[in-house]
């Protein structure tokens, strides 16, 4: 139990260190961006006097280290400053966009699990059979389709086939939760497609691998039925190895949503990010990048914890 706490503490320290490095990376990156935020805010017609005034107001004239310090403190208190471009709290801006990105990622993740899991189980039942081969080939093709191409195809399909699923008409969850889910289904599906293929492939091979393992042979020799072996031994074990891949998929999905929301014109973090990039909105940009990384770090951390819960070998070292 002692070393269990040690494991947790170790992971936590690692998490904090990672976050610190992440914040440093983010800050340095944005400190060397060419372009003056004040000039961007005021536009081409503004005079130099106006620009200088604003620069002082924004604190852009202070030394880098001071700016990093105050920014870091802001991050930790979930208040990383005010957006230059929107004149609003960065935290608030991000919070506004989060429902889209998180919702899309969550729906995509559910799709990945709901679709790939049964497919993998079925496919792994008879590896090498026709159905399995077809699944594998389709999986590979899906894997190779970039999410934005999938989005284009889906829009085309959706427009002609199911006009029920709305394209590009975002509804906020507080107004109409069902409408919110409805408008995210297509984009989520576009992100999910390649990940379904990925998780299918991984799960399938992991199930096949587990099925040939020694303890399955033992269970067979104990007279257990195939179904029982699948449920009680094969799936739990392949789940353990899938936890890591799931967290990687989640991080990929987050990244994928940044592009796909562009295609579907959804007001998510990706569009906020691109607009922040083009407007030199340093507080906003760094806020988005940091918090996205933050989410990923937390996801990885949780997946480590989940793995240690699922696997007694990690839990009871």
């Amino acid at each position: 139990m002692q070393s269990k706490a040690g494991y947790l503490i170790g992971k936590l320290v690692e998490l904090l260190l990672t976050l610190l490095v992440v914040s440093l990376l983010v800050f340095t990156a944005f400190s060397i961006i060419p372009g003056d935020a004040a000039r961007v805010m005021l536009g081409p017609e503004a005079s130099q006097a106006q620009v200088d005034l604003l620069r002082a107001e924004l604190g852009l004239d202070k030394p880098l280290i001071v700016r990093y310090g105050s920014w870091l403190i802001g991050l930790l208190t979930f208040n990383p400053g005010t957006s230059y471009a929107y004149h609003m709290s960065v935290g608030e801006l991000i919070a506004q966009r989060l429902p889209v990105t998180i919702g899309m990622s969550a729906i995509a993740m559910i799709m990945v699990i709901v679709i790939s899991y049964p497919m993998a189980v079925l496919s792994a039942r008879k590896p090498g059979r026709f159905g399995d081969q077809v699944c594998s080939v389709i999986g590979h093709i899906l894997f190779a389709i970039p999410p934005y191409v999938a989005s284009l195809l889906l829009i085309l399909l959706a427009g002609s086939l199911f006009s029920l699923l709305t394209v590009g008409n975002y509804v906020s969850p507080s107004d109409d939760f069902i409408g919110y889910v409805g408008c995210l289904i297509l984009p989520s599906f576009a992100i999910a497609l390649p990940k379904i293929a990925m998780s299918f492939k991984f799960l399938r091979s992991s199930i096949i691998e587990q099925r040939t393992s020694d303890y399955v042979r033992t269970s067979k020799s104990h007279g257990l039925s195939d179904f029982k072996i699948l449920i009680r031994h094969v799936l739990p074990n392949s789940n353990v190895s899938s936890i890591t891949i799931i967290s990687i998929i989640l991080s990929d999905i987050l990244g994928g949503s940044l592009i796909v929301e562009q295609v579907f014109n959804l007001p998510g973090l990706g569009r906020l990010l691109l607009s922040a990039i083009s407007r030199r909105d340093f507080p906003l940009l760094s806020g988005i990048v940091f918090y996205l990384a933050f989410i990923t770090v937390i996801l990885y951390f949780l997946s480590d914890i989940a793995a240690s819960l699922a696997d007694p070998r990690i839990r009871l070292k």
Binding site: G128, P146, Y148
Partner: protein
């Protein structure tokens, strides 16, 4: 011994993957090689008179909104795709091995330091990091390559690190240490050659993933810059017209998918023959 060799040569499954992969990849590579010497039209020559021509004998893939020949553009786009992915993977590979092998070999604080940096980079959704890097340094082919190389380096570093940790426990490395071989020499001549078999599939997959990223960035306008052609940019330009000129979407998408799929198939073939060989 020789019988063992023929046995582990190739399973039919692996060869099917290899053949399919090589055919798909071959199409793109042939287009690329030909484009180095010749394209039907200059890929960036506009011709306002022949906009949106559907595929015909003159323009097998049709023309775009500038009246440019899509076939020529697809051919020249394959050049960037192949070049960027290859150069990016090379950078990632170099950074990855140079950091991953020492991390795995020395362990301890070296390992922790390098892995902390690597993990921190991996904490950004990859495309995000590449986008920001390109946004910071400006969109150009060189910057895209560096950004992608940086983003993918930790992946290779991981492979190298894990491989090194495994290999360094083997007797021949212990033997080399006992013999007094210097660490740098152990890493370069004793460990690295044995990592190649693990790095190869990772490299092929890296090529494919990098292409996905590159096309995504170009799609967002932060990759290859016009008038140079790239699949992602062609697709994003074509998006507005895909109801009236579907060939603008179909052909670049097809080539892009061929390239990625070809690479996936080859890596799958490698994987299959590796695991089968292992048995």
């Amino acid at each position: 011994m020789s019988s063992q060799k023929t046995q582990s040569k190739r399973s039919p499954e692996a060869s099917a993957f290899y053949i399919a992969g090589l055919i798909l990849l071959g199409i793109v590579v042939v287009a690329f090689v030909i484009s180095l010497f010749w394209t039907p039209y200059a890929p960036d020559a506009t011709d306002a008179a022949s906009k949106f021509l559907p595929p015909s004998l003159e323009h097998p893939f049709g023309t775009d909104n500038f009246g440019r020949d899509v076939l020529s553009r697809v051919m020249s786009a394959s050049k960037y795709t192949i070049f960027i992915s290859a150069a990016g993977v090379a950078i990632a590979l170099i950074l990855g091995t140079v950091s991953g092998i020492p991390a795995g070999y020395y362990g301890g604080f070296t390992d922790r330091g390098i892995m902390l940096l690597g993990n921190s980079i991996m904490c950004f959704p990859g495309i995000l990091l590449a986008l920001v890097a390109v946004a910071v340094f400006g969109a150009s082919v060189t910057n895209v390559i560096w950004a992608l190389g940086l983003v993918f380096a930790p992946t290779f570093a991981r492979v190298c690190r894990l491989g090194t940790m495994e290999i360094k426990e083997l007797d021949y490395i212990t033997h080399a240490r006992v013999m007094g071989v210097k660490p740098v020499r152990i890493m370069t001549f004793h460990i690295f050659p044995n990592l190649v078999s693990q790095l190869l599939p990772a490299t092929v997959i890296g090529l494919a993933n990098m292409t996905l990223f590159e096309s995504g960035m170009s799609y967002l306008g932060l990759g290859v810059q016009p008038p140079d052609a790239s699949f992602g940019k062609m697709l994003s330009d074509a998006q507005a017209y895909f109801r009236v000129a579907p060939w603008l979407v179909i052909f670049p998408a097809m080539m892009l998918i061929f390239y990625i799929l070809g690479l996936y198939f080859i890596s799958e073939g490698m994987r299959v023959s590796l695991t089968k060989g292992g048995k």
